[in-house]
Symmetry: C2
Subunit: 509 residues, 2 copies
């Protein structure tokens, strides 16, 4: 009888895991090739690399969307319903089914149509931005929003077509909920911004532009990334034109930064931002690797980690109480005549300006809200692409009190829409909000975190984040993470209070 | 009528090329991951990388050996027979069929058995070499030779089982022919070596060990690699524990080296050796990319290019007549008091010693011949693995007049056998011989090459090599390359005359 109990064929769960493992490996290989393209690849290798990535991505997609995966998921459905919803098996089936359903909803001709349109739109955007030529980009942008609307129809939605798109970046998030949160955020922080602007500012910010040798920026940035908890054994810092974090598994994390000898905040805070992303991926439980449960829960949750490390730790006063003397020792020529107080104010300067990626904590969310409002209006049919530049500029004036001198520094500044990333922008602000909500929950549990930062001690906070966020990978939805870790759904209150407290002090309001 | 002529399904040649392209891309992706593992990957990423490489290699193999590929090759057989054997289509079918037949000859259980045995043998070898423990490695080595013998049976052969193995590295080469060439080589160069040894040598070689800052080694090595013809647009130089060359297509060439501040020949000649490999891959016609026709014709032909650049160019007197003043300007502390003549002699020092990879031009081939003789004797059953150390040491004494003090510096020094690379060693010497035979043919066509090197002019030689060797990729067999490019099959004569001429002059024989 024992012999008959031994499986003669691979059991379904085993077979599913094998297939998912292969699809995952192909995705990770693609990540390696992408990372290498941005960091080391000689220019002339671009054509070969495009072939290789196309093949890897196609095979990963084919492997994951194979009909057999669907059959196995059907067979294994009981695992999902039975027992603990957070068990490995139940989570595996639940999350894989979610991904599988999404990945198989588009007819292959539609996937091809999107791919062709994105390619054309992306190149048109590069030219349009270069030549400040919105008209040249307009037909492509119309196509991208048309495709987005059709994508929403394929994916299905109950309340708003934007929900369907959003779900690809922030699973479970709803447009209506974001509208509510953002309204609250706007209502409470716009007066703060206006107050800061009204106050006037005679601070000398030139310390930020003093010559800081690139090698020393690298040394200092990396030393702190290590102190924050990113281990040398499992990670690297490299240089790329646009900073990013990627991973090839929780034990192989890559972050990049870029250096400007005459503007050190770019490399330093960039490195620490990516460190936050990297720590998240590094903290995902190893047992989830090579399955759809691996990786961060959403873009918003990911951004909460990068923002927490960049802003709540590395732009805090106690952090610099610990590290400023080390900075002074490393580059006395940079810090000469600059007090800790001045330095702290300089790296937290609030300045309403044109470009999202350069925005500070107070103004950043307005850049995001503006994009979210325009995206939803376009999808709803309440705004035409042709009227977008005007609408953009009007909102910039309303929120930030500035008007772009041209479209290149206005509506054409971001790559997202040209790449079909519609529904992506709000995740940046969701991340900001969640960062503080998580921080406060951690502090309620651990005691005064600033005291710990003042001693260079970040381990208790990291441990809390691992326990409550990182380890779960994609097992939990963003909302579940917020609720379990902070006791409430995501809202604007914590973030608003954080901004008010911090910036009232800095600006003496 | 026109409509009916449009293909409703993909034509067979198109379908074959698509499949081969995918298999090729997977192989190249694997090469990127391997390269990255040796150059940048943090140690802790090793487990993930092993998963990813296993998946890529499995999928590449499955894609290439799919039954459909066999069917298409059958259907397309007429292309092979018709017309010019060197046409793209005829070559594609011929070479793909050769590879396909080879790749499908092993039952999958045998492939698995080899893979497991290699893994075990490789780790056993690492331990055995560390602990100078041949006995610990012996059973693994017995297994590897047993598997090699069985592999030869699966692959099939006419005269000698070694032929079947050799063919995997040097297509078309025959054991009997190599025995003849090696006998000739041995007979004619052993007296040269003995004469050099008898002559005595009072030269001061300490220049080789003077402090030469690593950054300057890199600068000088790379400058010359560029001057030799390796373009920055399509290639990179990085650092790895063991120097190698790889490529991800003819427009993305990677070479690596390693640095020792107190022994510059390692990095410099290593860089130029890999430059030769890289120039070969870079010169393969772009139209062959993503097919089995891409890449070098064999290990031997590849080594002919690396040796030609390393030895025939970069260890020649005229090369240094051009570059020695530049070296003097870059690192006067290294060249101080050392004449060009002394320097030339130092970098061409002949010294019979224990380790193959450190051997000079005169002694190198003896290391190879010894291995070839032992490999063939083991396969023939004329030698037992247990008796290998003794046989090794006896031959070392016969050929080089030295006896290893232990097996770590003797029979255990190379990784090859532990990785199942049996039949690989002779390609090193075939490459040496071919390098001079090609060089002489080029000179017969182009005129005095040394005069060109004296002016830093390597372009005519590179162009000749591209025309006669590089561009053909795997279209031509090694023998065909030798015959077409030099007018005769590969033989020892040119190499022997080169050694006699060069080293009689250096040692005043």
């Amino acid at each position: 009888m024992l012999e008959r109990m031994q499986p003669l064929i691979t059991p379904p769960l085993e077979e599913l895991k094998n297939t998912l493992g292969k699809a995952h490996d192909l995705g990770m290989a693609s990540a390696v090739l992408n990372w290498e393209q941005e960091t080391y690849m000689p220019h002339g290798g671009a054509n070969h690399r495009a072939d290789q990535l196309a093949t890897l991505d196609l095979l990963a997609h084919q492997t994951f969307t194979d009909k057999r995966v669907g059959q196995l998921l059907e067979e294994l459905k009981p695992l999902e319903a039975d027992g603990d919803a957070q068990s490995f098996d139940a989570s595996l089936i639940r999350v894989t089914r979610r991904d599988y359903d999404k990945a198989t909803k588009f007819p292959s001709e539609f996937v091809e149509e999107i791919s062709r349109a994105q390619n054309a739109a992306h190149f048109a955007w590069i030219e349009a931005r270069k030549g400040d030529d919105f008209k040249g980009f307009q037909p492509h942008l119309e196509t991208m929003f048309d495709l987005a609307r059709r994508a929403a129809d394929y994916l299905g939605f109950e309340d708003h077509p934007y929900d369907a798109l959003l779900d690809g970046y922030e699973p479970g998030a709803k447009t209506a909920h974001i509208k509510t949160i953002f309204a609250d955020l706007r209502q409470q922080t716009l007066p703060l911004l206006k107050a800061i602007q009204a106050k006037g500012d005679a601070t000398d910010y030139s310390v930020l532009e003093r010559s800081f040798p690139v090698e020393k920026q690298r040394e200092f940035g990396l030393k702190i990334a290590r102190a924050l908890g990113l281990p040398e054994e499992y990670s690297r810092l490299d240089v790329s034109a646009h900073p990013f974090c990627t991973h090839f598994g929780p034990q192989d994390i890559r972050i990049t930064t870029r250096f400007d000898e005459h503007y050190f905040p770019m490399s330093l805070f960039g490195t620490w931002h990516e460190t936050g992303h990297g720590l998240y991926e590094h903290g995902v439980a190893l047992e989830l690797n090579r399955t759809p449960l691996a990786g961060g829960a959403s873009l918003g949750v990911h951004e909460s980690q990068s923002r927490l490390f960049e802003n709540l730790i590395c732009r805090s006063k106690p952090f610099w109480e610990h590290y400023y003397p080390q900075l002074e020792a490393l580059v006395p020529e940079v810090t000469k005549g600059v007090s800790l107080e001045d330095f702290y104010k300089a790296i937290n300067r609030v300045k309403a300006d044109l470009i999202r990626v350069e925005a500070d904590e107070v103004t950043y969310n307005f850049h995001v809200m503006l994009r979210f409002e325009l995206e939803t209006a376009l999808l709803e049919g309440n705004l035409k692409v042709a009227d977008l530049p005007e609408a953009w500029n009007a909102k910039m004036q309303d929120y930030l009190g500035v008007t772009p001198p041209n479209n290149a520094q206005g509506v054409l500044q971001d790559v997202h829409w040209s790449s079909g990333l519609i529904g992506y922008f709000p995740t940046y602000s969701l991340g900001n909000l969640l960062s503080v909500q998580l921080y406060n929950a951690a502090e309620a549990k651990l005691g005064n975190l600033h005291q710990m930062f003042g001693k260079g001690n970040f381990a208790p906070l990291l441990e809390w984040l691992r326990e409550n966020v990182h380890q779960h990978g994609r097992k939990l939805l963003p909302d579940e993470i917020a609720l379990r870790a902070t006791g409430k759904p995501l809202e604007a209150t914590d973030y608003v209070n954080y901004l008010k407290g911090k910036y009232s002090a800095i600006y003496g309001l």
